[in-house]
Point group: C2
Chain length 301, copies 2
């Protein structure tokens, strides 16, 4: 009997086999195709299951999701923009299996809470800062789910100072200002010639002024959004993963400066923001924790 | 045997007797004195208890609080700025009683969840907009407590467009922009001659341009903060009480316009913000619900 984990990300799909309730091995992944996203997920799941019967599948998906109806409609998967019934599809593939479904941010929070920087804490925030910005909340010892399963959408906290249009249709969301993709767009509009977040981070480390300004802008906005979340949730630990969080001091110094400026209530003054140590596939790891049955409100740890 | 409720507000102290687990009667209240705040609380509690033995007391206090140590340190009570051990003091007054303690915003959320606009919902936000701005969160069917009991501090979400210094030591908090007191200060700095939030609301209704601009500014900032909270928490219902929320269309129209602009994710698009119908002492009512034993995570409704 195998327990599987599936990660439906903004740029890639990944699946693996869950061992011992937490480690995910035999991982296979592909880029999100323009068409046939479900067929690609099915292919991965069938491949990692091999000849074993499947007893449970944990699915983490980029948001928004609707966990009540088992539907995923990630902003960055146009084919699924109107919603894809992922739970029903996986259930049809493995009729006897228990299917558990959560937004990627909740999986991230589960992974950090079980194995990473939020371990042992009753309250905390896990974030990813890469092409987009997402997150998940631990509050009063449990992962917050929310009305439709979308709690943790920190990427759409409105931040001061910018009026950028956001992919969600809103304006001034931290994702529209501070994500890798948004930072690259901003730097390019000011004449920087690179194309990716990785290149932007490297340019900043090499002293490029536009790149440095882009990362300072991102870090400041992230620090503001984190300060807002810390006040609202009464948390003092935030763990950030994702590729763009690897940008080093040019991102982290302005982030910490913004927190020093804004997180001034007694209970937020000790706020610590640290880099995730789960370097590889935290969402998939969290989907594995989910599959192992830890994430429903009452069972959960 | 009597169950008592105590509300330690920013401007007044109130106490009463809890009937049937929710209604609070025989209410007595006084303004927060400059000195002798605890003596004033004690006087109210002793008066409402009368000759009865006290079995339980629910205490709601303006924040910040530390529910782990039972200490209140409301920003607006200078005498308690370094923290007053309210739980120990009330316990000493009524040695046999069960003492339950929460921030005012959590009490507000309890009141709205049991008796008001959040009834029957698993997720929602209760707010007060008066001299200050506070709130409480219902998430996954329970009142969020947070690490130190301060979850729900929506007044310190950072909002775009202003760099006002806040009482918390931070900058740009929605409380520093949008509370009754902040709005009065802003209007006065532009030449308006009144002194209170009530006067400001009346002036706006009478067409005073500075007053209208002050309320538009407040409503916009509130709508931005609410949109941020709705994305982070996945809620679609917000209930607002407090005197300044009685300002009518000059406040509510810009508030709703800001929500229409910012709350654009699928799961926040149906966000409804309504005025509280608990017109009298929602925090005290919530402290009563708390006293009746509903608020600890597992017992709670």
């Amino acid at each position: 009997m195998a327990v599987l984990a599936l990660d439906i990300g903004a740029t890639k799909l990944a699946a693996g086999v869950v061992h011992g309730g937490r480690a995910v091995r035999e991982v296979r992944q592909v880029k999100v195709p323009g068409e046939g996203v479900w067929e690609a997920c099915r292919g991965l799941l069938v491949e990692v299951a091999g000849a074993e019967r499947v007893s449970a599948v944990g699915i983490g998906s980029a948001g928004p999701v609707d966990v009540r109806s088992g539907v995923a409609s990630p902003l960055n998967i146009p084919e699924w923009r109107d919603g894809f019934p992922i739970v029903a599809a996986v259930q049809e593939l493995f009729p006897g299996a228990v299917i558990r479904f959560a937004i990627d941010g909740a999986c991230l929070a589960l992974a950090e809470h079980h194995l990473g920087g939020l371990r042992g804490l009753r309250d905390g925030l896990a974030m990813t800062v890469s092409s987009g910005i997402g997150g998940g909340i631990i509050i009063d010892g449990r992962v917050a789910v929310g009305r439709t399963g979308n709690a943790g959408h920190i990427g759409h906290i409105v931040v001061p100072g910018w009026e950028e249009p956001c992919g969600c249709g809103g304006v001034g969301c931290v994702e529209a200002v501070a994500s890798g993709m948004s930072s690259v767009r901003w730097a390019r509009s000011r004449g920087w010639g690179g194309n990716t977040g990785v290149e932007l981070s490297e340019a900043a480390r090499a002293g490029d002024e536009i790149a440095l300004a882009a990362l300072a802008r991102s870090g400041t906005a992230l620090g503001q959004a984190i300060s807002s979340a810390a006040a609202l949730l009464d948390i003092d630990r935030v763990v950030i993963g994702g590729g763009f969080a690897e940008s080093g001091a040019p991102l982290w110094d302005p982030l910490r400066a913004a927190i020093a400026k804004h997180a001034r209530l007694g209970f937020t003054r000790g706020l610590r923001v640290v880099k995730s140590r789960i370097t590889n596939g935290a969402t998939l790891v969290g989907a594995g924790v989910l599959a192992a049955g830890h994430a429903t409100a009452d069972e959960y740890d």
